[in-house]
């Protein structure tokens, strides 16, 4: 591993809400170029971990670095897909406008998006097959389409690292395949992709790296080596058996 760069490095991270720790002393290194799943039960702290990496939540101890520097210096290297339920889909705006928000980070304060940003947004929408819906009001999109809009927005951020919170939530099989293909494309292009994922059956098929999380980090590493019943049982508490097809 010494010769491989670390995209994300987390040291001794503890995060609490109202003084109640929800992440406890986490050490985690994500090598550059992996497609990594974060798995763990509801309330395990998966979303919290992602938000802490992004500086949205401040940890009470520990540190996060992106390619060796603090996140605040590396904002433009990281793109984010939040959990779909975290925004108000009745907000008065169109799909294209939401995707354009992906370009706001590189624009910085005050500067307004122009033709260049619009072009980036349209290209991203094309990649996720949402071009036809660009002028749709976002409340009039189906759940899967909303998820694709979020994905397009992350693509418009044009980053080196993509952090995604349950991008497969509530999407049908076709959309799921479309999304995973885009994620694999990103990996092929040398990007690092971290995905909070709930469907354990598909982990070996979709991902090459996995982190087990439940308040503490249980294990992290290549799917082939550590995705086993032992770690699943440690993470989910019950005696877990999945057919791991290798």
């Amino acid at each position: 591993m010494d010769n491989q760069k670390l995209a994300v490095q987390i040291d001794d991270l503890t995060v609490a809400y109202n003084y109640k720790p929800v992440l406890w002393d986490i050490d985690l290194s994500v090598p550059e170029g992996v497609l990594m799943a974060i798995v763990g039960p509801n309330g395990a702290g998966k979303s919290t971990l992602i938000k802490t990496i992004l500086g949205i939540i401040k940890p009470i101890a520990g540190s996060v670095s992106i390619y060796g520097k603090p996140y605040s210096k590396q904002r433009k290297m990281v793109a984010y897909v939040p959990q779909k339920g975290s925004v108000d889909w009745d907000f008065p705006t169109t799909a294209l406008d939401v995707v354009m928000m992906g370009t706001y980070g590189s624009l910085g304060w005050i500067k307004r998006p122009g033709q260049k940003e619009k072009k980036i947004a349209l290209e991203s929408m094309e990649k996720v097959g949402m071009l036809a819906f660009k002028n749709r009001q976002i409340s009039q999109l189906s759940g899967g389409q909303q998820q694709r809009v979020f994905l397009a927005r992350a693509l418009a951020q044009d980053a080196a690292i993509y952090l995604m919170d349950e991008p497969f939530q509530g999407v049908d099989a076709t959309t799921e395949i479309a999304i995973i293909n885009i994620l694999k494309e990103l990996r092929k292009a040398g990007k690092t992709v971290v995905v909070v994922h709930h469907d354990l059956q598909t982990v070996p098929e979709y991902f090459d790296w996995v982190t087990f999380l439940n308040v503490k980090k249980i294990a992290t590493g290549p799917v082939k080596e550590i995705f086993n019943d032992d770690n699943l049982t440690k993470t989910y508490g019950i005696n877990y058996k999945v057919a791991v097809n290798k």
């Binding site: 949205i56 169109t94 928000m101």
Partner: protein, 386 residues
């Protein structure tokens, strides 16, 4: 129109515009209540400011009182963060306390303070033209006109500069924070502007109308458009037109101007709430009824599709078999016939070619759980078109 009449309307229109802009973002952030809290909690700030400056329109007083507004927000958030109570409870705890401190301050110093609580709450626009800005003996017009004009100018400049930031931090605070557009800064910026607007306007129109002018135009516009820029435009339009027509209503009824404007805002909201084309109550009810008929229609067609035997498809049997109220059965049958989905021979109903395709397609979509495809399909088959 006399000069004071024009001045009053001008002041009312400026207040309406200055309130409408922050109002849109308060409504979208589901923070309508906080404007109410600010409008009451600034009272002690105003009283203390008045002790110091002896002038209700002094910029220092406005800043002091606005600071009280921001402190209110901080207090509310602090109480909420303890996790012991919800936000609305926290608001309900903070603002009565601050408001009563203001009331006590006024009562204790009744002799020195020419402030009256009725005027603070209800305001009286009719008096606004009397307080004039005099510079070296020249009359520059009513003070409120200058105060509100400046506040409006600041608000519009900030809106134009930070439109993108306001939008992204309102829609998705997480992303906003991640890309370095601090939602905390945007939040307190919005709270400061709201507080300044409330303080600037309360002297002219009273606290209650300020809240109405912030929330009602935005809430009305929200029912009519799905575009943020249009929502702001409509809010400005509704605010100003309610202010002007409220003024004339008061003239005709010989009533309080602030009261009439607030009433106009309420009536306008109610009218839009009932009649708005998409989100209005009537069109929502109509759509629900239509959907009910559509579901019945599809059920009915599926029944025809599954039953070859004529007895099952006899008009008199249908009612009993599908178990509908007679009226609905007739509506559905008429709709199906009008769209050439079925034909009736000797009181026996059968699917037409078109009806058959329609039924099979719906069945396919229902089975595959692709409900969204049924919508455009209805268009293809010209359902519900005259």
């Amino acid at each position: 129109m006399s000069n004071p009449q024009i001045e009053i309307q001008l002041i009312a229109a400026l207040v309406a515009m200055a309130c409408a802009i922050p109002g849109v973002f308060l409504v979208l952030r589901k923070m309508a209540l906080i404007s109410d809290a600010i409008s009451h909690a600034i009272l002690p700030g105003i009283v203390i400011g008045f002790f110091i400056t002896q002038d209700l329109n002094s910029p220092l007083l406005i800043l002091l009182a606005a600071l009280t507004g921001v402190i209110t927000v901080v207090l509310v958030e602090f109480i909420q963060k303890t996790g012991l109570v919800k936000e609305d409870t926290a608001i309900g705890l903070v603002f009565p306390v601050l408001f009563s401190i203001g009331v006590i301050l006024i009562a204790k110093n009744a002799n020195d303070v020419h402030l009256d609580i009725d005027a603070v709450l209800l305001g009286e626009l009719a008096f606004a033209p009397f307080d004039r800005l005099m510079v070296r003996g020249t009359d520059w017009g009513p003070k409120s006109l200058w105060v509100m004009g400046s506040i409006l100018l600041i608000t519009i400049s900030l809106l134009l500069l930070f439109f993108k930031e306001l939008k992204v931090s309102t829609f998705d605070a997480g992303l906003s924070s991640a890309i370095g557009i601090s939602p905390v800064i945007m939040h307190y910026g919005l709270m400061s502007i709201s507080s300044i607007t409330v303080v600037g306007a309360f002297d002219a129109v009273g606290a209650i109308l300020v809240v109405a002018l912030m929330i009602a135009p935005a809430a009305t516009a929200y029912l009519l458009t799905e575009d943020l820029k249009k929502m702001i435009g409509l809010s400005l339009l509704f605010g100003v037109s309610s202010a002007i027509s409220g003024y004339w209503l008061a003239n005709i009824l010989d009533a309080s101007i602030s009261g009439s404007i607030a009433t106009t805002l309420g009536v306008l909201f109610l009218a839009v709430y009932l009649f708005a084309p998409k989100k209005g109550l009537i069109s929502v009810l109509y759509r629900q009824k239509q959907q009910k008929i559509e579901v019945s229609l599809i059920t009915f067609l599926l029944h025809l599709n599954r039953h070859e035997e004529e007895s099952e498809r006899h008009i008199n049997h249908l009612q009993e078999h599908i178990n509908w109220h007679e009226v609905r059965a007739r509506t559905v049958l008429n709709l199906a016939e009008k769209n050439n989905l079925v034909e009736i021979k000797n009181n026996v109903v059968s699917l037409t070619e078109k009806g058959l395709t329609f039924t099979e397609k719906s069945l396919e979509y229902i089975i595959n759980n692709k409900d969204e495809k049924i919508e455009p399909m209805k268009e293809d088959f010209f359902l519900f078109r005259g």
